[in-house]
Amino acid sequence: MFQEAEKIYYFIKRDMISFSTYKTNIALMVLSALFGALSFAYLGSNAEMQKVLQLYNMSFTAYLVIGMAFSTYIGQALTLVQKTINPWHLEEVLVSPTGLGTFIIGSSAWGFIWSTIVVAIYLAVGSLAFGVVLSINIVGTILVLGLGVGTLIGFSMIGAGVLILIKQGDPVTWLIGILTSVFGNVLFPPQVMPYQLQIISYFVPQYYFFTAIRLMMIGWSIQMILPEILALTVMCAIILPAGYFIYSWCLKTARRNGTLSWF
């Protein structure tokens, strides 16, 4: 167990050193986060939505800043596994005495650490520059993040598995990305859409994630968001193992066919 944890530490160290060499890119990413937070907070301050206030008991500015902050996190989770599972690196690790689970966690760990930094930037800008009042329920936030990220990693593994087999394009990640932007409760609540479209939201895990995480940011208790937690738990319990199973199967198939490094 300790040995596996240590391996994950070295994955993070490797990626952090590699990442830190792209200095201009880091500066641009931080600036993008800052400007993103500023622009969305500004947009929110000028277009209050009565409906938002009713549903979440927060201003549209707070709604947007929290949505944008965590959409970065979710976007990372969705694409991270397939980005880090470079087939050539995969071959090198598959011939070593390191398990697939350690490899997946290790390969994606640094991306989550960086996303957490980006979330912190968004929330700090919203709070300091636009007076967004945050009263974070830390335990609840960690729980919602764990369930949301777990579900999205499940999708990400399905996408990575498909990519290993079909070699180009990944319809799974693309579809989840589209569903997130329209029905995921990121930039506007689905309740502003026609009822028929609202129904789709209830089948998208991101809807529950963004609803729950916003309420955790303003200090609601876990008991108050039990329906969302329950929905996310069920989705995570299905999608995460399914993702691991599909990814392992695709990997096994590619190994059997000898096409693992054909990209």
Binding site: Q3, E6, K7, Y9, Y10, F11, K13, R14, I17, S18, T21, Y22, W88, H89, E91, E92, V93, L94, V95, S96, P97, T98, R255, R256, N257, G258, L260, S261
Partner: protein, 342 residues
């Protein structure tokens, strides 16, 4: 009785390959048909502990597929194998712990923005090198491959030879008893290639006592450093013995080396069709003077007058002629009917 490090019994791997067949015209989808390509064909091989074994074969002979099967990357379709006494299918983690693998394209899996040291630090964790030994071991292997001075230089600044050496250092990191080296000298210049070969023979094989499976399509490499060589052709092991014994297979035939002037490719083609000529390797020696070296592999010396008569008729100028001892390449041609570079 010597212990076996690598043993395969009836090992087979077949790939399915979709190819276009323009004769199938009914629909666009039916123009592709599936072909089965047997990359490794019922291979039986035994490599003893401490042996430096060369696996020789042209491109596509199945060398890399065999290495990938042995390192657990590819599952075989049929047959069995054991590595260091561990079953390839049932004890995969033990097999991986027993091996250091250098793939034929060595730059994959290495992180370009990290120094050589940091790359090895990462891989030492992945290969379970004990933490207390890690720094010492990394410096040891860097020293072994001659990269100690460049340890903290970024990998992307390394030359081709240095990159290959770092890949070898990575394979050596966990100090495995068996090394699978898939065409380790590909892409290296003559000097780097020679020094790497010497290192493999002297330091790894003789001094450290490692078992090495060394695949190559360079005949001289195998002939110079290996204790035994196997010739792989279309996935089958067609010969397996010491380099001199394999060369001896050609004793049945004769090898004649001729240097000529003003010979055309078409004339070499005609010579290849002559009765008793098994094969001819033609190599341009001096393009300005039009001087060529022909290595004729003949069934017997009775064929030689026919060849010389052809030179006379075609006005091909003969510079010199030598009766040669057969090489591994000659043995390969004898056994497979095709040259190593084909």
């Amino acid at each position: 009785m010597p212990e076996t490090a690598i043993e395969t019994r009836g090992l087979t791997k077949t790939f399915k390959s979709k190819v276009r067949n323009l004769e199938l015209r009914s629909t666009i989808f039916k123009r592709k048909e599936t072909l089965n390509v047997t990359a490794v064909d019922h291979l039986n091989l035994q490599i003893e502990k401490g042996e430096l074994f060369g696996l020789l074969g042209p491109n596509g002979a199945g060398k890399t597929t065999l290495v990938k099967i042995l390192c657990t990357l590819l599952p075989p379709d049929e047959g069995e194998a054991s590595i260091n006494g561990f079953d390839l299918k049932r004890q995969q983690m033990d097999v991986r712990r027993s091996l250091g693998t250098l793939f034929s394209v060595g730059e994959r899996g290495v992180f370009w923005r990290l120094s050589g040291y940091r790359n090895l630090e990462f891989f030492s964790a992945i290969y379970n090198v004990p933490r207390r030994r890690r720094h010492e071991r990394i410096m040891e292997v860097l020293d072994l491959v001659g990269l100690k001075d460049k340890a903290f230089e970024n990998y992307q600044k390394y030359s081709g030879g240095m990159k290959r050496k770092l890949s070898l250092a990575r394979a050596l990191l966990p100090d495995p008893p068996i090394l699978l080296l898939d065409e380790p000298t590909v892409g290296l210049d003559v000097i780097s290639s020679k020094s790497l070969r010497e290192f493999i023979k002297k330091d790894l094989s003789r001094q450290a006592g490692k078992t090495v499976l060394y695949t190559t399509h360079y005949v001289e490499e195998a002939s110079q450093i290996c204790d035994r060589v196997g010739i792989l052709n279309r996935g089958r092991l067609v010969a397996c013995d010491t380099p001199s014994a394999v060369r001896g297979i050609v004793k049945k035939g004769e090898v004649v080396e001729i240097r000529v002037k003003s010979i055309k490719d078409a004339q070499v083609g005609v010579m290849k069709t002559m009765e008793g000529v098994i094969d001819i390797i033609s190599e341009m020696e001096d393009a300005v003077l039009g001087q060529r070296r022909l290595r004729l592999h003949l069934r017997n010396m009775d064929v030689l007058p026919v060849v010389l008569d052809f030179f006379l008729k075609e006005r091909i100028r003969l510079i010199d002629l030598r009766h040669e001892e057969p090489t591994l390449e000659d043995a390969f041609i004898e056994l497979t009917g095709r040259g190593l570079e084909e």
